[in-house]
Subunit: 582 residues, 2 copies
């Protein structure tokens, strides 16, 4: 069975030695108490609960799955108890504002915990995960009465939350949503329609479930500009906060899925359910995107968690498993060059992606809390740029590394008991929900590159160039990184230009471009990690980091150029091919 | 649910227009009746049974799986009936020699049918697949009495076969096998030991199961040189061919796996079972490799079948599914550039791989049957070279394209009912069994490149160069193919040289090299396909082929150079990293 040990040494290295997490407490008055020691202390606490209580539920939860019966959903044994422990200890509300019963700690810490939770049990992580999403949406767009009514209970985890967006014919095309909201005359609305793929839509682990629903008011225009958001609780909430009658909504079925079996993916039917408008009419898409952007970062962390799980299990297995004899006379398969290639690919990807993900989380904190508006603005640029990278790269990597872990295990990896095949199955959804990874690539190319006259990417290029000046002691990284950067810069210019005449060309290359951008970002991260470790007295850690940096520089970073060549290839013949002739 | 329609148009194009399958009937007296028309007629017949009877069992077979109870294995409903129909129609014994009740048709045709069967239901395909493997092993190494006793029943499919090779601590390291064979004094042996991962090890679909078992005779040396092969039937066979008593062997459990649920993967215990030596003592490895090499080609075809299944379902879904609006005003997602990129990747891979796989099968026929020894020798060189390429490339592709198909379906792809997630789960085993794909890469680099002073690869290079001379009407392919070829040639020379001093360097780059070689091979195939189609009057087919050729030339073939650069990167720091420090 796959096991999980939180990589606290590595987490501390990234936070402190690479990203200087101390800047949060120093520069953000709201987070003054979140010193590095406090953050690491809390991460260690979380790790204990996650390793000891939640990780052991991962494999049995997959085997049993969530089960539906006549509108009710039963979760696997142990989930309700673990959720109670997890939420009562305050881990759900880590970065929620104290005025709504949150802990007021950095988003960064919440994401560090998210990574660990998602290594241990990504299906479990979705229950607090969606609760946080719902919290963020109401916090951003709700009125004060709504906030008072719903947020504290979402903070404590006594209630959980959902996002009800997708419909059978409205997936990537959100604007096609048909769910209808009719005013009841008393300020509330009657919500009518079917939603699918609703994570955590029904269960009895919490006293109430708060649905954040995208629907169309009866007099609203078609398309995305006619959508509004509503809060629709499973049980109506009385003014004194007590629970009233059951709302007219039900879970009419759950999906049978490739993975995340213990997470219920619900088909929800709203049968004239009572809901309340959140925010202004017809601004539903904007309201939803507040949550969606943070949700995309969350999904990136889910991917990172699964990358770590795949990597640490493959390494442990390869250290232990003996087959034949390597050139150094040893029999452990970690000594075989092809196995080593796989493990280094996994390490280089996971550790490099972690820096990108953590840095993004830190920028979320800075964008929220820094006293200087100019600093906040720059931080928000980074968040905007990084969100599609973190979402798509980390999740693609999770699936790929899950597959690589199976290869390391050989035939045993295909057997469910060993647990690594679950990584492939659980990870695939991460590449799909909150916008497929193709949608992320479009977001990067069609929005993020064009915003603010292209300054988002320019900030990145300038930062990498500055970091790449001082070459010692990692000369082997400097040249490949410069080459990658130059390819990325010229391709970025080409994309911005060609987008004007031929948006399809940009669309065709978007996925390759996102990967190229992410790999270049990881190159920058490996440069920073190599520098940070170069004076370390921990020789073992240093040897590992420098060898992995070298691997990344020589075997992964060069992909950037060929991906960039792909992006710029002509597409005329390809777009002209008749659909019927495929 | 995933559906399957045999791609007969495409199969005919590859066999006739690209590979000139007519040469088999013209040049090989043993196959004189296997004219192109006969072959296509039989392929059409097989397609009907496969599409109509076997494909519909794929999804329910996955849901139910094989079940073990007290030594017995129950297969999903419909499997036994379908197997009876399939074997009685003679499809199991297509290329078996007529003297042992086979049809005496080309191996090529058997593999074309294998592709179709493996698109329809790869779990089902393993029952006839292993039977064929067992047949080939006894045919190659058994004495005439053994052949008379076992082969006709394996041809008719009344009996099925297995290969019992792997043990818990002897996977890739076959030489560690401990199963023991003690002479009984009457010419038979008593077989004692446990085998794992035995596909089709137990079921009641056939009257008998013939196990081909690798074991060590009591006075044999350790390692691979002390292994022998034995035939060990589930029921002993009387001299008149009737079945005698139950042999002392049992299925003590089956694996719960990621995929191919309907294929039973058995733990077999031989408790002093009676077996008979096949071939000479201590030549088990050689005997096994006769079967293993053909089995590796078979697995490649399993991968090809799954590639086709993924590709045709993704195209059909993308033609139908509407979301938003593309630049040409249409809503079908096939019109979106990123979806088109995915579909073209799938087509370019599947169709290119099909030429490589079919060509390999044709060389097997030529190597067996050509009257001229020099032609046979050259054909065998091609088989030797291509075997690891077909096995590893087609199976890696199956997993990747299964994943791509899910992306095309979006969130719906993650739901089991849609059937494409099964492709990912079923395909992963293909990358593992009959030698992991890492082992295939080692076989290529450490054996195939060195054999006969390197002439195998030289034959390939010369062939591609000759084909690439006449550039019209596919100019866009010529330059990328030449660039790829040159990179591959110089990397091949480098590998052969560096292998002498530093085998680990060759090992480290082996997987990238195998992929580079395969992509170059596919480039050669796309060149041939583009030429073959250029005078076609079927404009729709021609447009499709030429657009896909262009896609492959501009977006996939360029990977060869960067993979080759990887192969030649230094590895010193990477091999020196202490296992403990990973």
């Amino acid at each position: 069975m796959a096991t999980y040990k939180a990589p606290l040494r590595e987490i501390g290295f990234v936070l402190n030695d690479v990203l200087n997490v101390g800047q949060l407490a120093e520069q953000l008055p709201a987070l003054a108490e979140a010193t590095p020691d406090t953050l690491m202390g809390l991460a260690e606490e979380a790790a204990k609960l996650i390793e000891g209580t939640i990780a052991p539920l991962n494999h049995p939860g997959d085997a049993v799955g969530a089960r539906w019966n006549a509108g009710n959903v039963t979760l696997p044994d142990g989930f309700a108890e673990a959720y109670k422990q997890y939420s009562e200890a305050g881990w759900v509300s880590l970065c929620n504002p104290p005025e709504y019963d949150g802990q007021g700690l950095p988003f960064t810490l919440a994401k560090v915990v998210e990574e660990m939770l998602c290594s241990a049990n990504v299906a479990f992580a979705l229950y607090p995960g969606l609760t946080t999403g719902c919290f963020e949406a109401i916090l951003a767009s709700g009125d004060e009465a709504q906030k008072q009514k719903y947020l504290p209970k979402l903070s404590t985890g006594e209630w959980t939350g959902t996002m009800c967006i997708t419909e059978p014919n409205a997936g990537s095309d959100v604007g096609a949503a048909k769910t209808k909201a009719t005013p009841n005359g008393d300020g509330s609305y009657s919500i009518e329609g079917g939603k699918i793929f609703i994570t955590s839509g029904e269960h009895t682990m919490a006293d109430n479930i708060v649905h954040f629903v995208l629907a169309r008011m009866i007099d609203s225009p078609p398309g995305v500009k006619g959508l509004s958001t509503f809060v629709v609780p499973k049980y109506l909430v009385n003014d004194d906060g007590s629970l009233g009658e059951r709302n007219r909504l039900e879970c009419v079925g759950i999906e049978h899925k490739m993975g995340i079996h213990a997470s219920c993916t619900c088909q929800m039917q709203f049968n004239g359910a009572t809901g309340w408008l959140v925010g202004k009419p017809n601004e539903g898409i904007q309201n939803m995107f507040v949550m969606m952007n943070l949700a995309r970062i969350m999904v990136g962390f889910q991917g990172l968690g699964q990358c770590e799980l795949a990597t640490q299990n493959a390494i442990a297995y390869a250290r232990d498993r003996k087959q034949g004899r390597a050139s150094n006379g040893r029999a452990e398969i970690i000594e075989f060059p092809d196995v080593r290639r796989m493990l280094l690919t996994m390490k280089a990807t996971t550790e490099g992606a972690r820096v990108m993900a953590y840095e993004t989380a830190m920028y979320v904190d800075i964008a929220h809390h820094h006293p200087d508006p100019a600093v906040r603005e720059e931080a928000q640029d980074w968040v905007d740029l990084n969100t599609p990278l973190v979402k798509a790269f980390c999740t693609d990597a999770a699936f790929e590394l899950g597959s690589t872990a199976i290869q390391v295990y050989g035939g045993h990896g295909f057997v469910r008991d060993h647990g690594v095949e679950q990584i492939v199955r659980d990870s695939k959804i991460l590449c799909l929900y909150e916008g497929t990874n193709g949608i992320q690539a479009m977001d990067l190319v069609r929005r993020k590159l064009l915003m603010h006259d292209g300054r988002l990417a320019q900030r990145f290029f300038a930062r990498v160039r500055a970091e790449n000046q001082s070459d010692a002691p990692v000369g082997y990284l400097v040249r490949p990184l410069m080459k990658a950067l130059e390819a990325l810069e010229s391709t970025t210019a080409w994309l911005r230009e060609s987008y004007k005449q031929n948006p399809d060309a940009a669309g065709f290359g978007a996925t390759d471009y996102l990967r190229a951008f992410s790999l270049c970002y990881l190159g920058y991260n490996w440069l920073r990690m190599a520098k940070a470790v170069s004076n370390s007295s921990d020789e073992a850690f240093k040897q590992s980091k420098l060898a992995t940096a070298e691997f990344f520089a020589t075997r992964m970073l060069p992909q950037v150029s060929s991906l960039c060549d792909n992006v710029k290839s002509p597409i005329e013949g390809l777009m002209k091919l008749d659909a019927a002739n495929f």
